[in-house]
């Protein structure tokens, strides 16, 4: 609206008027692997189960008879009836990867590097060395989607900062204002910004993290380092004209 990725600011900004300025944001929605799954409760056959070892909610593809009650029962609309199998299917949290200590595929694939998967402690056992505990319980910068549904969803979102909070507070609850404030201050907050830098830095699940000066490390349960990234990535400025290959390249500002 007011800017263009490649040519910078557009003179005059947005050129239309409505009730409010236009805004948008992406909302990647996978199954929340809820603590109290509505899908599970709605299945008259008990075909849905929550694994005690990791909390992953699965539809037993051998038991499902396609009644589609779970499709109705999930308020997040995350179970789908697959007409090709005649059964209901949903996100499996890539459990074969989780079992190997690897983050799910959609986390690893994210080119924006804005997703991090791991195990969250209960609030009373919050451990600041656990990256998810730090973000969710300690800094409260990541919030559940539609907590008012009461299912205790286990996907947490850092709320979008440009969206009116009257709107986002309906989606993410009353903690939105504080979360946005904390997130906006990340450049002055070396711990928070360094942890955000760990997002997308490794395929492995990193149950522990630690900042050391201008570096941050992701570690396994025993404290063995898995990945290390700098607090600030070095900036490389490419000349618009590449003399070597005699070609012009467009650099985005």
């Amino acid at each position: 609206m007011g800017e263009d990725d490649c040519s910078g600011q557009v003179d005059g900004g947005a050129s239309f008027s409505m009730e409010h300025m236009a805004w948008f944001y992406y909302l990647a929605r996978i199954c929340n692997h809820c603590t109290y799954p509505g899908c599970l409760a709605s299945c008259p056959r008990g075909s849905i189960y929550k694994r005690p070892e990791d909390g992953i909610v699965l539809v037993d593809q051998g038991r499902c008879r396609g009644y589609q009650e779970c499709v109705k029962g999930c308020p997040y609309k995350k179970v789908f009836f697959n007409m090709m199998t005649g059964t209901s299917e949903k996100c499996i949290a890539c459990y074969p990867k989780i079992e190997m200590g690897i983050q799910p595929q959609c986390f690893v694939n994210c080119i924006g590097k804005i997703r991090l998967a791991g195990f969250l402690s209960t609030p009373d056992k919050a451990n600041p060395d656990n990256p998810l505990d730090y973000l969710v319980h300690i800094r409260k910068v990541a919030l559940p989607l539609f907590p008012q549904f009461g299912l205790e969803p286990n996907v947490y979102y850092i709320p979008p900062v440009h969206v009116p909070q009257a709107f986002t507070s309906q989606m993410f609850g009353p903690g939105v204002a504080e979360a946005v404030k904390t997130y906006r201050n990340a450049p002055n907050d070396p711990d928070l910004s360094s942890l955000l830098g760990l997002f997308g830095s490794t395929e492995m699940i990193i149950p522990r993290w630690k900042r050391q000066g201008d570096w941050v490390a992701g570690m396994d349960e025993k404290g063995k380092e898995v990945v290390r990234v700098p607090l600030r990535e070095p900036i490389l400025i490419r000349p618009a004209y590449d003399k070597l290959y005699q070609i012009s390249r467009t650099n985005c500002p």
Binding site: S42, P44, R45, G46, Q61, G62, R63, C64, R65, G66, Q68, E69, V71, F81, N82, M83, M84, T85, G86, T87, E89
Partner: protein, 268 residues
């Protein structure tokens, strides 16, 4: 349910006379329970004339008001049942009024279907009619209209199953994979987890029914576990089914044949 011999014939004669008077639907002998007539000819088609010799029982359908989602209003009030046995096999004909023919699956769309349920053990204290109860199994033969359509020759393709669907690409349907090849089978298995564990809700089949057991609501199970794929020839029961649409209204008639030994205790 009990079996009776030819003593039913005088009744049938009266019924035939009445048919002449009423003109449209022939009046048939009705019974207060399902009565199986003994005959050497156990029909396997719903329009077999042999059915005219069997009395009809109008069975009121019970509400499923035990477990969620409860059904507090009946969509079909009753089903008319006839039964014929030869002492080794029994056939049931179920007939009900149905304005639409629903034999295509889809999201929030369910197909016509019906089932015959028989207690696994015949004893004085019969299991609850709502799919049996703990320790008191029932055996269920379940028929579904889309399976019948498949058996009757409807191809198993996305186009046939979902005429209005627009599909970009299903790897296991891809042209490049030769039908029936190992690669195509592997793909089909990977993208159809239900089929891979032997849960054949859709797909090609040569038998329009499913052989099930249950011991209460929510316990319905196939006779095979996930790792044993049931083959049609494994099905213990000989089930032959057929349905047909009558002019002006949809009327499905299904024939179930079952070995009568299950009913031994009831036969007189």
């Amino acid at each position: 349910m009990r079996t009776i011999a030819r003593s039913i014939l005088p009744l049938m004669a009266i019924a035939l006379c009445l048919a002449v008077v009423s003109g449209c639907r022939r009046t048939v002998a009705t019974t207060t329970e399902v009565v199986a007539v003994s005959s050497t000819n156990v029909p396997s088609k719903p329009d077999d004339p042999a059915w005219d010799e069997a009395p009809e029982h109008a069975a009121k359908l019970l509400l499923q008001d035990l477990v969620e989602p409860r059904q507090m209003q009946v969509s079909t009030a009753d089903v008319r049942v006839r039964a014929i046995t030869n002492g080794a096999e029994i056939a049931f004909r179920l007939e009900w009024l149905d304005k639409t023919k629903d034999d295509l699956p889809g999201p929030a769309h369910f197909m016509d279907g019906c089932a015959v349920q028989i207690p696994a053990k015949i004893e004085a204290n019969l299991p609850a009619p709502q799919m049996g109860e703990t320790g008191k199994n029932v055996e269920i033969t379940f028929w579904r209209a889309d399976w019948q359509a498949m058996v009757d020759g409807r191809p198993d393709s996305i186009k046939e199953r979902y005429p209005n669907a627009s599909v970009d690409h299903y790897p296991f349907e891809a042209q490049s994979l030769e039908k029936g090849s190992a690669a195509q089978t592997e793909m089909a298995t990977r993208y159809s987890p239900a089929a891979a564990v032997g849960n054949r809700r859709v797909g090609p089949r040569s038998n329009p029914v499913e052989d099930l057991i249950a011991e209460g609501p929510g316990t319905l199970s196939g006779r095979f576990n996930h790792f044993q794929r049931p083959r049609d020839e494994d099905c213990r029961r000989m089930v032959r089914n057929h349905h047909q649409a009558c002019p002006g209204r949809a009327c499905f008639r299904i024939t179930h044949s079952d070995r009568i030994r299950h009913l031994g205790g009831l036969a007189q």
